[in-house]
Amino acid sequence: MKSKKYTVAILALFMLCITTSCSDFLEEESRGLIFPETFFTNPAELELAVTSIYNGVGIQNGHDRIVAPWQGADDMTSTLDMHRQYDVFRGNGSNTDVERWWRESWAVIIRCNNVILNYHRAEATEEQKNHAAGQAYFARAWTYYNLVRTYNRIPLVLDLTVDFEIKKSEPGPIYNLIVEDLKKAEQLLPIKWTNYKALSGYTSGAAKALLANVYLSMAGYPLKDESKYALAAEKAKEIIDNEALYGYRLLDDYADLWKASNQKHDEIVFGIYYNVSAGDGNQRTPVSSMPTEYGGWDVYFAEINFFNEFPEGPRKDATFQTTFPMENGDLLDWTENRQRHPYYKKMWDIPGYNPEKPWIYINYQESRTNQVIRYAEVLLTYAEAKAMSSSPDITAYNAVNRVRARAGLDDLPEGLSREEFRDAVVAERGWEFAAEFGIRWFDLVRLERVEAAAANRHEWENPLVSPPTKNEYFSPIPDNEILRNPNLAN
């Protein structure tokens, strides 16, 4: 009897095991995850998507290494292998720094595309939607602008569809997209942000300034569409005529641009901002550009002929470190330091930095801002574009002379020809923006002056095996990307 009871009980248990398997046991339950299908419903979600764009831009530009192809210019050089490759025009697809620039640029574009494709779905005010879209258009344009100038022919990607076979686009359509995006961004973005983006949000003024720069690039190599000079001048003028509205001005003292305390100032039209104490530091300051004597990383320092030709004055003093106090009391001239080169000190000043004792260890990252477009560039873009689209009129002279005056230089001589005036402005750009965001390199490329600049090389520089040609104007696409999509090899 007892065993029968067991049998019944156990068979009941067995049945229980099988029948309790309710039908939804195998349903997938994904708690805590957020899916694109149900996203973009409200302003908060819109904002979350936009923040990811800023995150991408921040990461992309916060590395100790600068963008290696900029080393092709005559304003700077390096002995770091990956940077030296570009300094001697030996850029190649295995270069780690160029691979990172490519990868992190696309990460930004994807996030922008995500917002651009979906922002209209959110239940939000027109203003909220406009702001979201504006920031995405701006960041996408800026990133494509970087990519097209670095790699020239690249894929044109406007959505999130996976495509293993996409082919490279010619630069023309890429530039057209950039222009379209910026035209939208300048309309959609606010002139000033009043919320937590007051410091760092992308603005309408930034979009206009960037658009002026883009037009200027389009007028040069490789598109050489000279009709764009007029558009560049017009766009820059819009800002210059409304300086007060946008809140831009030249700081009185060039040295103030590079003070740690000036994380934000009126000359920054477009900057990339950081906060190191919140775990979001910028490694481009300070040790990145310091000499190894001071615990620095020698990522870039000044080329000698460029330094020698740089006009004396307060700007030169604020740009270069030429004497080097040492811990043992020596004071070395730049010809006596390890690299035998002057250094750029623009990014050296951070809290705790002591110019008397620069060897004292300071952080490898800080909250300094990467000043991508300064108001001075708007002025110089205007000057050049105005001269090239019509003639170097008084407004063009005024624009360049404002920059020269601050640098402690006399006004440009009157009566210069278009080309003479342009060359003076381009030289001015080189000095004003030395070692800043590749401006010098891209000037040399668009004006096809890479070869000439490379010929003017001091004997102490990295030796050239063969002089650069047009092949070295643009960087190869990284090897690992070609392995994923072999079509990019062509």
């Binding site: 067995f14 095991c17 195998l26 997938e28 694109p36 990956m82 190191v276 095996v465 392995l483």
Partner: protein, 1002 residues
């Protein structure tokens, strides 16, 4: 068993001669008393041996001292001595009255029962390929992991130490790798529960199921093979208490020959052409001291301690087993350690003749320090940093503070500082409960159920102080995991018509696993003395949390049939439903069939006496793999943050990696043919197996181009095969009174080949190194095995005589030269080709066990041959590129000059390109390691009067024979990945260890 003809004649002649002699001598007497002693081969008296006069019922048994007396009337009588577990012996005493009989142990292990999926089977009835390991094989060695129990002992099972850190990484692969996805780990079942806590002691048996006939009953979890661990249960009426302790001392087996301070200084000035790099003060320091040997600074002596206690026995109907263990490992790398406390118990009660219930409980707590530094390919890897830091730099500044950075060598922090200040504490608890019930409904019809659950909790805590972080920060991570499984089985066995035996099994199983996590990070902590224990002190705080769950429901059945123990047939079937797949892909179906024929039982062979066993086996079946995590068909957004230059981290959401809703099961079809043969009463046994596996619907991750967001998208694409051959020979080489020698040799050959990758022609692998090697050195290609190395072929350096040709590449003599496949005078991704492979061509293991009186010696040797290792650490120690800034290895100071052209080390030329993805860094990774040598001495209870004692001295991984230039050819920074293996980036090497131990059994 009938003797063969020759033997027959000899034996008969012998017997005839003996008979004659007996008859002559026996004529004098009629009935007489025969007495004597029966012992085993170890001379230990055997009590209770049956002695019978052949053909009669007259007989006796031996007493406790093995003695016997028997009256024998017939002078031609034959005495039969028999005892369980021993071979019977027949003796015709003739005129002898005093006999000394030595019974030999029955070496026939064929009646051994082995554990198979959801049941047990007589070993002789097996149709599949199943290898058993008994604790006897490792009991005299200080093993602390499952990997050590298996390593080198089972053909077809590759156990690799992917790093040598405390509680280090090991990878177990059974018959190659089926999946590109990388989840090729075998299913591990502990007492019926998958993923149970692996016992460190108290193992009763380990079974490795290899072919589809054995594994298909596990369906979707069986494709990578199954390891079944059965733990010890109490059995003896007298309680048995065993205490064991081992203490091991470990050291790094080898070091790189690095430059010392003065040599480095001289070379650096020569190489860079710069002078005055160091102040006189610095030069004085490193000239007088030799500078810093960073290897010595980071790699020292490690100590392992292992203490175990176990108690087992039986009391009435209750059988019990209790054990505890404490393991303390201090690694050879500074500031690395692991501690484990574990506890295991089981109680089994035979409630009635029909009902048995059991309850198992085990728990484990482990603590680790800086375990993350053991592997990986990050530049914070401490050993890599030690290898690339300038020896001219001191650890400390004269004022006692850390010397933080290296002006010429590494861009990373002082490796001693970074490792010494690193705080990364891991802590985890696991608890497993298992209840089981077995009930005999009718004779032959059994019902059983196993309900088990496992809880895991983890707390990781990290702290980065002001030495190693820009702003002091701390984080804590809490994880919980729960999994449960309920299995119900109904089995029926019946013997009918004499020679037919049929066993049927039906089962149902449900499995659920769920995990949650909370992570809190705090930055800019104002008071660093609080470490990670007061996150509230940070000015910026980030919190994240996560949840994951997946379920599996299965139905399965098995049929076993045998005819006269000669012919065997097995068929299994399983249906698995998984929450990870959608709609019609939810269920997978996995059948198998197998047959075996024991030829030795056939009349034509059984008479010859050659074979003890000769079984031919064949099987075919399909197993599957889910090979993906939960939510793989979904594409959630990923979290990012940005501060907007404020002190708040604003959250952001970015598109995640693209997903694939059509994912389905990966299926592996396997055919196996095997032979089990044994000779000489089983003194030599041989097992041979050939297998052929094809995996279709290969789940693999395809790297997305960066313009599509990078990352990997999963897809069922293509197919892959693994073919192989396994052989093992076990022999009792010598078996004397005082001396025995058992030896086992096994070897395996596995050929892995990707057959097809769907639309892709190539899939780049992992193992990239940020800042040094952004392009993976691995490529998956159709027609080639996984972990194929891919890169440019290094052809040496351009020589002076080739200056003209070099210039076409923009190079000058002394620059590196690579093979230009497409002849376009450019070296780029188009010139990459197959340059090597990380998989071995063949492997072998050789174990020996010698016993002489009370002494014993075990020697285990393992060989792995025909593989390459990508020595990324070597590359960066010898070349300048990317984040590698100087040369530290002596070998590479032989740089090219027009006068010294016969070298592979380029001059410091701005036109030289040192390619990381190049054959230059591949080295022969074959090795032979003496895994273990253990010498032990037994002190029996008779001598000590209280207990059996054993003393052991062992050496593990003490000798390595290899051409590899790095520290350890076995380790890899890529962990358990199969698409990327054999990448040494200063990975934590496996140390050599000397262990002394003692154990005592009461």
């Amino acid at each position: 068993m009938k003797p063969n003809f020759t033997r027959n004649v000899l034996r008969r002649a012998g017997i005839a001669a003996l008979c004659l002699f007996c008859w002559l001598s026996a004529a004098a007497q009629s009935e007489r008393l025969v007495h004597g002693e029966v012992t085993g081969e170890d001379r230990v008296p055997l009590p209770g041996v049956n002695i019978l006069i052949k053909g009669t019922t007259t007989g006796t048994t031996t007493d406790v001292e093995g003695r016997f007396e028997l009256r024998v009337a017939d002078p031609n009588a034959v005495l039969v001595f028999s005892f369980i577990g021993y071979l019977s012996q027949e003796i015709q005493p003739g005129s002898q009255t005093s006999l000394s009989i030595t019974l030999k142990q029955d070496l026939k292990t064929l009646e051994e029962v082995v554990v198979v999926g959801y049941g047990t089977q007589k070993k002789s009835d097996l149709t599949g390929s199943v290898a058993s390991i008994s604790p006897k094989q490792f009991e005299n060695q200080p093993v602390t992991t499952l990997a050590e129990m298996l390593q080198g002992r089972v053909p077809g099972v590759a156990v690799t130490n992917s790093n040598g850190g405390p509680g280090g990484g090991t990878k177990i692969r059974i018959r190659g790798t089926n999946s590109i996805r990388g989840d090729n780990d075998p299913l591990i079942i502990v007492d019926g529960f998958p993923g149970g806590i692996i016992p460190l002691n108290g193992v009763k048996s380990i079974e490795v199921l290899k072919d589809a006939s054995a594994t298909a009953i596990y369906g979707s979890r069986g494709a990578n093979g199954v390891i079944i661990i059965t733990t010890e249960r109490g059995s003896s009426q007298t309680p048995k208490l065993t205490l064991t302790s081992n203490v091991g001392f470990s050291r790094v087996a080898k070091k790189y020959d690095l430059l010392n301070g003065p040599e480095y200084y001289q070379f650096l000035e020569k190489f860079t052409g710069q002078t005055g790099l160091y102040s006189q003060e610095d030069i004085d320091w490193f000239t007088s001291t030799g500078g810093t040997d960073w290897q010595d600074a980071l790699l020292g002596q490690g100590i392992n301690q292992n203490y175990q206690a176990s108690l087992s026995g039986q009391s009435g109907k209750i059988r019990y087993f209790l054990s505890g263990q404490y393991l303390d490992e201090k690694g050879i790398l500074l500031n690395t350690s692991a501690n484990t406390y574990s506890f295991r118990s089981n109680i089994t009660s035979d409630v009635s003749d029909r009902l048995t219930i059991g309850f198992d409980l085990s728990a484990l707590e482990s603590l680790t320090e800086n375990q993350g530094t053991a592997s990986g390919t990050g530049k914070t890897n401490p050993i890599w940093n030690a290898l690339t830091w300038s020896p001219t730099e001191p650890i400390y500044n004269p004022d006692g503070t850390y010397n933080r950075s290296d002006p010429f060598g590494s861009i990373e922090f002082n490796p001693y500082m970074a490792q010494n200040e690193r705080v990364d504490d891991g802590r985890s608890q696991q608890m497993a409960l298992n209840t089981n019930l077995k009930y005999r409904i009718l004779e032959g019809l059994d019902f059983s159920t196993i309900a088990g659950m496992r809880r895991t909790n983890g707390q990781d805590a990290r702290f980065s102080n002001e030495h190693i972080a820009s702003s002091p920060s701390a984080s804590r991570n809490q994880r919980t995991g729960l999994s449960w499984q309920i299995t119900s089985l109904l089995s029926y066995t019946r013997k009918f018509w004499d020679q037919h035996t049929l066993t049927l099994l039906g089962g149902h199983e449900q499995y659920l696993t769920q995990s949650t996590g909370v992570n809190a990070t705090s930055r800019n902590i104002s008071i660093t003395s609080v470490g990670y224990d007061n996150l509230g002190l940070g000015s910026t705080q980030t919190i994240t949390s996560s949840y994951s769950k997946s379920t599996l429901r299965s139905y399965f059945g098995r049929l076993n049939y045998n005819f006269s123990s000669k012919y065997f047939l097995t068929a299994t079937y399983r249906a698995d439903g998984s929450s990870k797949f959608r709609d019609e892909n939810k269920y997978g179906f996995f059948p198998s069939v197998a047959a075996a024929w024991d030829v030795s039982k056939e009349d034509f062979l059984s008479g010859t006496g050659i074979f003890h066993q000769l079984k031919i086996r064949g099987s075919w079946g399909v197993t599957g793999s889910q090979a993906v995590g939960a939510y793989a068909t979904l594409s959630p957004l990923k979290t990012t943050t940005y501060t907007y230059a404020t002190s708040t981290k604003y959250p952001g959401y970015a598109p995640g990696v693209a997903s694939n809703v059509d994912l389905r099961w990966e299926e592996t079809e396997q055919t196996n043919i095997g032979i089990d043969a044994s000779f000489w009463q089983g003194k030599i046994s041989v097992t041979l197996d050939y297998f052929d596996k094809t995996t279709t619907g290969l789940l693999s991750s395809r790297q997305l181009p960066n313009y599509n967001g990078g990352g990997n998208v999963l897809a069922n694409l293509g197919s892959m095969e693994n073919k192989g051959f396994e052989a093992s020979v076990n022999a009792i080489v010598a078996q004397g009174r005082d001396f025995t020698w058992d030896a086992g040799f096994n070897t395996s050959v596995v050929r892995n080949k990707v057959l097809d990758l769907g639309e892709s022609t190539q899939l780049p692998g992992g193992g990239t190194i940020s800042g040094l090697m952004p392009t993976s050195p691995f490529m998956t290609l159709p027609g080639e095995p996984l972990a194929t190395f891919w890169g440019a072929r290094f052809l040496g350096l351009w020589q002076t005589s080739e200056a003209e040709e070099a210039l076409k590449y923009g190079n000058i003599p002394g620059d590196s030269k690579y093979e230009d496949l497409d002849g376009n005078y450019k070296i780029n991704a188009q010139d990459y080709q197959i340059i090597g492979n990380a998989n071995p061509k063949f492997t072998w293991g050789f174990s020996n066990s010698f016993n002489y009186k009370n002494w014993g010696l075990n020697v285990l040797v393992e060989g792995v041959h025909g593989r390459d290792v990508f020595n990324a650490a070597y590359a960066t120690m010898t070349s300048v590129f990317g984040d590698s800034r100087s040369i530290t290895l002596r070998e590479a100071t032989n740089i090219w000059t027009p006068e010294n052209q016969n070298t592979i080390w380029p001059a410091n030329s701005s036109s030289n390109i040192n390619l990381m993805n190049s054959s230059k860094w591949l080295q022969d990774g074959s090795f032979v390691k003496i895994r273990n040598i253990s010498l032990f001495y037994n002190l029996s209870r008779e001598i000590t009067k209280i207990a059996d004692m054993k003393l052991t001295v062992s050496a593990q991984n003490f000798f390595t024979f290899t051409k590899y230039k790095g520290i350890d050819p076995e380790v890899t920074g890529t962990g358990s990945s199969d698409t990327a293996g054999g990448l040494d980036f200063g990975t934590y090497p496996v140390p050599k260890v000397i262990t002394v131990g003692a154990s005592i059994t009461f």
